[in-house]
C-alpha cells in the first residue's frame, strides 16, 4: 500500500522511528498468519526519493515432531 498523503516529520530519526513502529503495528495485526512472513516499509521524502527501507521478518520452525 502506498501513502500518498504523507506525514510531516521533524527529522530523519523521527521518520526511522515512525517506520519501524509502523512495522510493529502491521505485524501485530497480521500475525500469526503462517510461519514465514516479512513486512517491508519504505520511507520517501517529499521529492519521492527513497530514504530508508526497513524489513521485519518472521521465521517459525518446528524443532520436534508432534507427539
Amino acid at each position: 500500500m502506498r501513502d500518498d498523503e504523507g506525514l510531516e516529520l521533524p527529522d530523519r530519526e523521527s521518520a526511522r522511528r515512525e517506520a519501524i513502529c509502523s512495522l510493529l503495528d502491521i505485524a501485530r495485526d497480521e500475525l500469526p498468519d503462517g510461519d514465514h512472513r516479512s513486512f517491508v516499509i519504505t520511507v520517501r521524502d517529499g521529492g519521492e526519493t527513497s530514504l530508508l527501507s526497513a524489513r521485519l521478518a518472521l521465521d517459525a520452525t518446528w524443532l520436534a515432531q508432534a507427539g
Binding site: E5, L7, E18, S22, D25
Partner: protein, 243 residues
C-alpha cells in the same frame, strides 16, 4: 443565546441516559457559568491543576490526554457537545490528566460550589451525575478492550460507530454522516497506533466500502457491516431507547 440555552445542551445529553423532571432541568439550566472559547490544542485544565470549576462542551470536540516523560501522548477520550469531561474534578482535587480542545471549541465553565449545593438539594441529580461518570467509565473500559485486544481495523471501526451514536443522540449527526475533525496523528494517539498504520486502516475501511471521507465529513456507507466489522455493541453507552 441566553445562559439557559447553553446549558440545555447538558440537559439534552443527560436525558439520553436518564429521565429528568422539569424542576431538575430548570435548576440545571440556571446554574451560574462563564463561556470560554478555545483554539485547537488549547488546554482547559492541565495535569496537576486544582480546578474550581467543571466545563460543559457547547461546540466542538475536546479530548483528555496524558503525556509521558518520553513525550509520547495517549489520548484517553473524545468529548462532544453536552458532555462534562472534567466533572470528576468536583470531588478529585488534583487533575491526574489534561483536557484540551481538539477543534475550536466553546465551553461553559460551571463553578463547583453551586454544583455541589445543587447536588445537596437534589440528591437525585447527584445520582444522575454519578450515572454519567459511570457511563464515562464504561466508555474507558471499552477503549481498554479495544487497545488491548481488538485489531487496528476493528478499533478504528469501533471508534467511528461510538462517535456517530454519541453525536446522533444529541442531534449533532444524522443519516450516518458526521463531522470528523480527528487527524491521523490524533487517531493514532487515541488508538495506540502510528499515523502510518492509521492511514493504512482508514484506506482499508474505504476500500471495504464501509466509510467515505470527504474533507472533514465522514459518511458511514453501511452501518450494519461497520458494526459487524467492529464487533460494536452499543450497550456500554447506556443510551435510552426513547432518545
Amino acid at each position: 443565546m441566553s445562559d439557559r440555552d447553553h446549558l440545555s445542551k447538558l440537559t439534552r445529553r443527560l436525558q439520553t441516559n436518564t429521565e429528568l423532571s422539569q424542576v431538575e432541568i430548570d435548576r440545571l439550566e440556571s446554574l451560574p457559568m462563564q463561556i470560554r472559547t478555545l483554539a485547537r490544542f488549547q488546554d482547559v485544565v492541565q495535569e496537576g491543576d486544582h480546578p474550581t470549576q467543571s466545563c460543559v462542551v457547547l461546540r466542538g470536540w475536546l479530548f483528555r490526554y496524558r503525556i509521558l516523560e518520553s513525550g509520547r501522548r495517549q489520548i484517553l477520550s473524545f468529548h462532544v457537545a453536552g458532555e462534562m469531561p472534567d466533572l470528576h474534578s468536583i470531588y478529585l482535587e488534583v487533575m491526574d490528566h489534561s483536557l484540551a480542545a481538539l477543534t475550536p471549541c466553546d465551553v461553559a465553565l460551571v463553578p463547583h460550589r453551586p454544583l455541589q449545593e445543587f447536588v445537596a438539594d437534589h440528591p437525585r441529580i447527584g445520582a444522575v451525575l454519578w450515572r454519567d461518570t459511570l457511563i464515562d467509565a464504561g466508555i474507558f473500559r471499552e477503549w481498554m478492550v479495544g487497545i488491548g485486544r481488538r485489531s487496528a481495523f476493528e478499533r478504528l471501526a469501533h471508534l467511528i460507530c461510538e462517535m456517530y451514536l454519541r453525536l446522533a443522540h444529541v442531534g449533532l449527526a444524522q443519516d450516518h454522516s458526521l463531522e470528523w475533525p480527528v487527524t491521523r496523528t490524533d487517531l493514532g494517539d487515541a488508538t495506540g497506533m502510528t499515523s502510518v498504520h492509521v492511514t493504512r486502516m482508514l484506506g482499508e475501511l474505504r476500500r471495504a466500502r464501509l466509510v467515505a471521507l470527504q474533507g472533514s465529513t465522514l459518511t458511514i456507507l453501511d452501518w450494519g457491516r461497520l458494526v459487524a466489522a467492529a464487533g460494536f455493541d452499543p450497550g456500554y453507552l447506556h443510551l435510552r431507547p426513547s432518545s
